[in-house]
């Protein structure tokens, strides 16, 4: 079976290669081929042996780390919906409800995004990069469940074309594409992205259902939160599909750090920055958001999810080791700052990460400049002595 499949692909690729019209589709076929088989290509220059790790493996590891949050998000979508209606249903029914709502969003995200990626690969004549596999899953996970599918599609198209391909494609983008998609939807379709009628499935159509996020409640200067710390930590609260559970984000973080794919420095930096800023505000304690305990700031909203899966995106984050610390701490600080000072955007983590994405190259520039200065000082010293 394996050999037969191999034979079929090889003959198909051969036919394409020698056809003048269809030659440009080779990258598209390659993308499918390399999904079935690691190619038989051997090293031609440089090191003669290579590690088993490649970009596909790295990206799939990130997807694996997202799975707990996704499954929990599917269940929570159903649970929030039925509990608002006062119905008590089985775990399986809640999950099934969420699955039927969320799966179409994922399908649309992948269909639109991959179509654009394949198009650019064929147009530019390079191989299809695997980056979108992660972005395409992240985008539905950070949207409210009731957002219409066409809006998901438009946001995806905006993110892939403007945030990624316009900058040169995978590895070249300044902003995290998934967050760009969410920011686009947030500013283009605000009624579907904020308020108390979007966070629980069918809230806009069924009167019995409403549900504000915790941060939304606080932003309205209403300090009475009926959820316990445990609810917030586990994530049994309204919010974007997969952002609610700090626990699941921690499981993801564990996988990313264990596999060496996600930067623990950025994650820890965010935590330190966020906790520190929250603590300062607690001491001031002027309004509901300021007096909200700092340790709760770290478990509500998208803080954990954003820190673990978005801030650590290696392309848009700082690239140097020192830079990662600085970048992480600043993301944490700005997240809480935006939450507290700008009640129109109670979800600060999205804007904090996008802001720091823009500044990441500057941070790296100063870190690398320090190394350059050190070297040049050494040169001058040597010249003076010799």
């Amino acid at each position: 079976m394996k050999n037969k499949l191999r034979h079929t692909i090889d003959s198909l690729k051969n036919d394409l290669r020698y056809s003048s019209n269809l030659k440009k589709f080779v990258p598209a076929v390659n993308a499918f081929d390399t999904f079935l088989f690691v190619p038989n290509v051997v090293t031609k220059s440089g090191a003669h042996i290579r590690d088993a790790v490649d970009l596909k493996r790295t990206m799939i590891t990130v997807i694996i780390s997202l799975v707990p949050a996704l499954l929990f998000g599917m269940w929570n979508t159903g649970f929030q919906h039925y509990s608002q209606l006062g119905e008590s249903v089985s775990l399986f029914e809640s999950f099934g409800f969420g699955f039927t709502r969320i799966f179409p969003m994922i399908a649309v995200s992948y269909a639109v995004g991959l179509a654009i990626e394949f198009g650019f690969a064929i147009y530019r004549g390079h191989e299809v990069n695997e980056g979108y596999l992660v972005t395409g899953l992240l985008i539905p996970m950070i949207m409210p469940v009731d957002i219409p599918l066409w809006m998901v599609g438009v946001s995806v198209a905006f993110a892939v074309i403007i945030a990624k391909e316009a900058f040169g494609g995978t590895g070249m983008n300044i902003l995290n594409p998934a967050l760009t998609a969410r920011a686009f939807a947030f500013f283009a379709y605000p009624t579907y992205m904020s308020g108390d009628k979007v966070w629980v499935a069918d809230a806009s159509t069924i009167d019995a259902i409403s549900g504000e996020t915790i941060l939304g409640t606080l932003a309205a200067n209403n300090p009475s939160i009926q959820y316990s710390w445990w609810d917030m930590f586990v994530g049994v609260v309204p919010g974007s599909i997969a952002e609610t559970s700090t626990l699941m984000a921690l499981i993801g973080a564990f996988i990313l750090i264990f596999a060496g794919v996600g930067s623990w420095r950025i994650m820890l930096g965010c935590l330190i920055g966020g906790a520190f800023t929250g603590l300062i505000f607690n001491l001031l304690g002027v309004n509901a958001l300021m007096s909200f305990p700092f340790y709760l700031h770290l478990v509500v909203g998208g803080f954990a999810f954003g820190v673990v899966f978005m801030a650590t995106d290696p392309v848009s984050a700082a690239q140097t080791t020192k830079g990662k610390w600085i970048y992480g701490v600043l993301v944490g600080i700005f997240c809480i700052l935006i939450r507290v000072f700008n009640p129109a955007y109670p979800e600060g983590v999205m804007l904090a990460i996008l802001l720091m994405n823009v500044f990441a190259p500057t941070i790296d520039h100063y870190v690398v400049s320090a190394n350059i200065r050190k070297r040049k000082r050494r040169w001058q010293l040597a010249k003076a002595n010799g």
């Binding site: 394996k2 191999r6 390399t34 999904f35 079935l36 088989f37 690691v38 190619p39 038989n40 290509v41 051997v42 090293t43 220059s45 440089g46 090191a47 003669h48 042996i49 290579r50 590690d51 088993a52 790790v53 490649d54 970009l55 596909k56 493996r57 790295t58 799939i60 590891t61 694996i64 191989e127 990069n129 695997e130 980056g131 494609g169 995978t170 590895g171 070249m172 264990f258 596999a259 060496g260 794919v261 930067s263 290696p314 392309v315 984050a317 690239q319 140097t320 080791t321 990662k324 690398v368 190394n371 350059i372 050190k374 070297r375 040049k376 050494r378 040169w379 040597a382 010249k383 010799g386």
Partner: protein, 453 residues
């Protein structure tokens, strides 16, 4: 023993490959032909001195370096120039000398080490043909005889995959090695000699060098790392490096007055049946060694003059290189692996990444490897993985990018003078985008030599 400096290297990775050479050596009878390859030296432009059919003695110059005409490359044996192989733009690839039975050698007057000047030593090394053994930083090219280096670095530490044991190689040559160190000490102010930390062998009796100890994973044995930590290279300065066995060659030449080109070379790797050391002369036929080491010639093998990360790709009809003490042989990896990109699948494939259970499975056991690329070249996405295997105070990713865009000022500022392509061997191996870091650094260095000199 006590060291002046103790270097503890933390970043890096030891790759334990099956087929490391046993510590036994075989003296091989001379081969039919010997080849000197200008390609063994980085950025060498040569001019031939002889035509095909010319008679040569051991020590007769075959060609010289156009950039430094006094640097001559001499025949390692006496015989006839059988063939001159040329490549693109008539570049000389191989000068093949057919051995004769007479074995005559050119003899030179040996300078008296106690009294002679630096210039007399330099002239002797150039005349006899020993100069190409000396390599200089910056750039990793043959040393410029008109410049005086601030120091010479020698590393007896080999942490490369299938690395050799210099203690074993120098076992019978300690006197020659000592004499070689005396010669080198006339050329520079200070000689640094690097040992594995905790070294207890005979070489600790060597005089005239500053000792330092090194521990940690590959590339802890690379001279670039030692220089970076002990005596970093500054703009306009020179540091020389030399292979330990070539110090013994120089030492022997100062006793005999003849060119010496002995090479103790290990044939190793998981394609080798009986991995061991051979005592031969530079340029020996490769096939001879492969047969003696019981290499399975029926399978599709890759033969490498050097180590698995930085060596030169050769075929079985080729000859051993000028500078390497190691020949690596591994099978080619031109097979498909179904769904091999899945994390934690195919855990037998060597990996330093935690996206594979290879680290768990192999423990400290050596593994078999092949030449599969294990993926395809991609845009640079993952950051921080280069720094994990690069122990110098240099930003490798930024330096590579500066080389890619040919920004000379930035390359200088980021430390291009302090590196050679070999330092990026592990980056080639570990990086998930299958970036050809060594090739990029190589072209960066070529640009520097052309534009800055």
């Amino acid at each position: 023993m006590s060291f002046r400096y103790n270097l503890k290297i933390n970043s890096g990775a030891d790759l334990h490959i099956k087929g490391r050479s046993a510590l036994k050596s075989v003296v091989l009878p001379p081969s039919e032909t010997y080849t000197i390859k200008p390609g063994n030296f980085f950025y060498l432009n040569t001019k031939l001195l002889l035509k095909e059919g010319a008679k040569v003695k051991k020590g007769t110059p075959l060609f010289f370096d156009k950039g430094n005409p006094e640097v001559k490359f001499v025949s390692p044996i006496s015989g006839t120039v059988q063939k001159i192989v040329r490549g693109k733009r008539r570049r000389v690839l191989d000068v093949i000398v057919h051995r004769d039975e007479k074995q005559e050698a050119l003899k030179f007057d040996i300078p008296n080490l106690k009294k002679c000047t630096r210039k007399e030593i330099v002239d002797f090394l150039l005349e006899v043909g020993l100069w190409p053994f000396l390599s200089q930083r910056p750039y990793g090219i043959i040393a410029n005889p008109t410049k005086k280096p601030k120091s010479i670095f020698i590393s007896l530490v080999d942490k490369r995959p299938l690395g050799v044991d210099f203690d074993f190689i120098l076992k019978d040559k300690i006197q020659d090695f000592q004499r070689g160190i005396e010669v080198l000490s006339k050329l520079t102010d200070i000689i640094y000699l690097g040992f594995p930390s905790g070294y207890q062998g005979e070489l600790k009796s060597i005089k005239g060098a500053t000792f330092f100890g090194v521990s940690g994973p590959h590339p802890a044995g690379n001279s670039s790392v030692h220089i970076n930590k002990i005596d970093p290279l500054n703009y306009g300065e020179y540091i020389w490096t030399i292979n330990p066995e070539d110090i013994a060659n120089i030492g022997e030449s100062f006793a005999t007055g003849e060119f010496t080109a002995r090479r103790t070379i290990a044939v190793a790797g998981n394609g080798v049946g009986d991995p061991k050391y051979f005592k031969v002369t530079i340029g020996h036929e490769l096939l001879h060694l492969l047969q003696e080491a019981k290499v399975n010639m029926n399978q599709d093998n890759r033969y490498i003059n050097g180590d698995l990360l930085t060596g030169e790709f050769v075929d079985d009809q080729d000859h051993i290189g000028y500078l390497n003490n190691l020949i690596s042989v591994i099978p080619e990896g031109n097979q498909y692996r179904m769904f091999g990109w899945l994390p934690f699948k195919d855990n037998s494939v060597l990996s330093t990444s935690r996206t594979s259970f290879n680290w768990l499975k192999r423990g400290n056991k050596p593994v078999e490897v092949n030449t599969n690329l294990n993926g395809e070249e991609r845009a640079l996405v993952v950051t921080g993985e280069m720094e994990k295997v690069f122990p110098m105070d240099i930003y490798p990713l930024q330096l590579i990018k500066a080389c890619m865009v040919e920004d000379i000022e930035k390359m200088e500022a980021l430390g291009i003078f302090e590196v050679v392509p070999e330092d990026f061997g592990l980056i080639d191996f570990t990086n998930s985008s299958k970036l050809e870091a060594q090739e990029i650094i190589k072209s960066g260095l070529e640009l520097m030599i052309k534009e800055v000199g």
